[in-house]
């Protein structure tokens, strides 16, 4: 039974193959952080755990391919998702001290769009 299932997994994996895209490595994810000290503190406390963990389901920091369809939704939608919570993402990223401007800057950083 398990052999059959393993074959099924392999088949699924084969059909799911797509051209490789540049994704941040685990080593890069471990050290990526905003340059601004306050943002870096907020990022470490509220974003980093999930957005550097491939198992979390969250788009990884600076994974531009994963962020592209999200970024297309526009800043207002992304901000709503962060403030209200969305799928696995808890509201405000559990950062009660974050302001909307903080959140916008963090979204930009996560998506690899800079911090401005």
């Amino acid at each position: 039974m398990k052999r059959i299932l393993i074959v099924a997994i392999a088949a699924l994996a084969a059909t799911a193959c797509t051209p490789p895209a540049a994704k941040p490595t685990a080593a890069e994810l471990a050290v990526l952080a905003p340059g601004d000290a306050r943002l870096a503190e907020l990022y470490a406390g509220a974003c980093k755990t999930c957005h550097t963990n491939p198992q979390s389901g969250a788009p990884l920091t600076h994974d531009t391919e994963a962020w592209a369809p999200r970024w297309k939704q526009g800043e207002a939608t992304l901000l709503d998702h962060v403030v209200q919570g969305y799928k696995g993402m808890p509201a405000l990223g559990q950062c009660a001290a974050c302001t909307p401007d903080d959140l916008k800057a963090l979204i930009r950083f996560l998506a690899g769009k800079g911090e401005d």
Binding site: M1, K2, I4, L5, I6, A8, I9, L12, G45, T49, C50, N53, P54, Q55, S56, G57, A58, L79, D80, V83, Q84, G85, Y86, K87, G88, P90, A91, L92, Q94, C95, A96, A97, T99, P100
Partner: protein, 464 residues
């Protein structure tokens, strides 16, 4: 909980068993629950708890950077003043139309007194582990989730598992309390002793606990074992395992006839790092089985046993803070009651039977832990060791049945609710459950006569 590969096997197996139509059913995802607007009509920003069922639009948001700022804010901020950490409580402890205070800027270890660490209560548990480890020390025990602030975890009597290990607040040897009048009270067993016994578990109702002095233990490596076995076998061996292991807990998985067992024991073995977290994959597999086979409990159990029953155990060796407490990326709602230890397994049987008879939509495992006694006035573990039963529901699923079907069972077995988790109890109920209830109320009235710390939920809890 189990390996990622196994979880994948489970999910794929369930899908494969039913073909393309089954795959659609198994993977069909409910829409996101409706969310409140990001701002209210006055432009105030939304606050929402982790699971999403509590929310508010606070008029003020405060992030004090010193104890003096905390004390000053308590005097002048718009009431009710509520403090928030990670927002992991499922009850209405946090929502306020007044001031919402984050202690995220008051974090870290402030000092050491021997092996006792003086810690700012805004410190998240996940950040405290590595800081203590730098000194070769650790918290004696940890809860499952590491995102909570120390203050929030302590104030709601958050706990791990282990018959010789108390909840987090049982390791507090002293604390500093900023009161609603703007004073700072130093409290321990000898100084302000009544406030100390009241404040260790106080739901943020007495003011703001800014610092605690925590007893620590050597930062030992633990050997973690996870395995699955039949439900009846786990129940037959549970008491012996609680007696034998430093930490033992198990998850009863409804509609499978199985339990997942987890033990941790101190060891000098070399580290064997735990692999990637697999809980999310495991839960997804259980959800797909639910989606596909909820119409037939026998079929659902047979499929689950075939796919999960022979899973190989997992093992890891690492420092305790890396193993005992982790992220929980899948959101849920939860009810947990703490029962007299001798009632725990009988109550579990009733809970599982009820869910399997009436709620085929449930797929989350039920968690059972054991907690040592302590003497804080509002500690659920006051007066004797307790056994906890925690029932979870996916954040998109109905949780109202927890109040109508599950809570009566847990109360009938003498349970006290977790202060941060779903329950419908009010002041008269708590007065019956806690011998020092009136003593706590007296301290609360003395420290906060105007009720500046009380939101509507806490007014109902305290009967104000």
């Amino acid at each position: 909980m189990i390996s990622r590969r196994t979880a994948l096997l489970t999910g794929v197996g369930a899908v494969a068993a039913a073909g393309a139509g089954g795959a659609f059913l198994a993977t069909r995802e409910k829409p996101e629950p409706a969310a409140p607007p990001s701002t209210d009509k006055d432009g105030r920003l939304l606050w929402r708890n982790w699971s999403g069922i509590e929310h508010a639009y606070p008029a003020e948001r405060l992030a004090p950077r010193s104890e003096d700022e905390v004390a000053q804010a308590l005097k002048t901020a718009l009431a009710p003043v509520r403090v928030v950490g990670a927002g992991h409580s499922f009850t209405g402890l946090v929502p306020t139309s007044g001031a919402l205070m984050s202690l995220d800027s008051l974090a870290g270890i402030a000092a050491w007194e021997g092996d006792e660490a003086v810690v700012w209560t805004g410190t998240r548990l996940g950040a405290l582990g590595p800081e203590l480890a730098k000194h070769g020390r650790a918290m004696p025990n940890l809860p499952d989730i590491n995102k909570q602030s120390l203050g929030g975890a302590m104030g709601t009597a958050t706990h791990g598992t282990g018959v010789k290990l108390g909840a987090i607040h049982s390791d507090v040897r002293a604390l500093r309390l900023a009161t609603p009048s703007g004073d700072i009270l130093e409290c321990d067993a000898a100084t302000n002793a009544d406030v100390f016994q009241a404040a260790k578990v106080s739901l943020g109702a007495l003011g703001v606990v800014t610092q605690v002095r925590l007893a620590t233990s050597p930062n030992r490596r633990l050997h973690r074992r996870v395995w699955i076995e039949p439900f009846e076998e786990t129940l037959a061996k549970a008491e012996a395992r609680w007696a034998q292991h430093r930490n033992f807990e198990f998850y009863a998985v409804p509609f499978t006839g199985l339990c997942a067992n987890i033990t941790h024991d101190e060891t000098d073995e070399a580290a064997r790092v735990r692999g990637p977290d697999s809980d999310q994959g495991f839960l997804e597999a259980l959800k797909q089985l639910r989606n596909l086979l909820r119409f037939s409990t026998p079929l659902r159990k047979a499929a689950a046993k075939a796919l999960l029953g022979s899973v190989e155990p997992e093992e890891a060796v690492d420092e305790g803070w890396k193993l005992l407490s982790t992220e929980r990326p899948v959101r849920f709602n939860e009810m947990e009651f703490h029962l007299p230890a001798e009632q725990q397994l009988a109550a579990l049987r009733e809970v599982v039977a009820t869910i399997e008879a009436k709620r085929p939509d449930v797929f989350f495992p039920i968690e059972l832990r054991r907690i040592a006694a302590d003497d804080a006035w509002l500690s659920p573990f006051e007066g004797g060791a307790r056994g906890s039963i925690a029932i979870h529901t996916y954040y998109k699923d109905d949780y109202a049945f927890l109040f109508t079907l599950i809570e009566p069972i847990l109360r009938r077995h003498g349970g006290r609710p977790h202060w941060g988790k779903l329950n419908s109890l009010k002041a008269p109920d708590f007065a019956e459950l806690y011998p020092r209830w009136n003593d706590f109320l007296a301290v609360r009235r003395r420290l906060d006569p105007d009720g500046r710390m009380l939101n509507p939920y806490l007014k109902a809890v305290f009967g104000v």
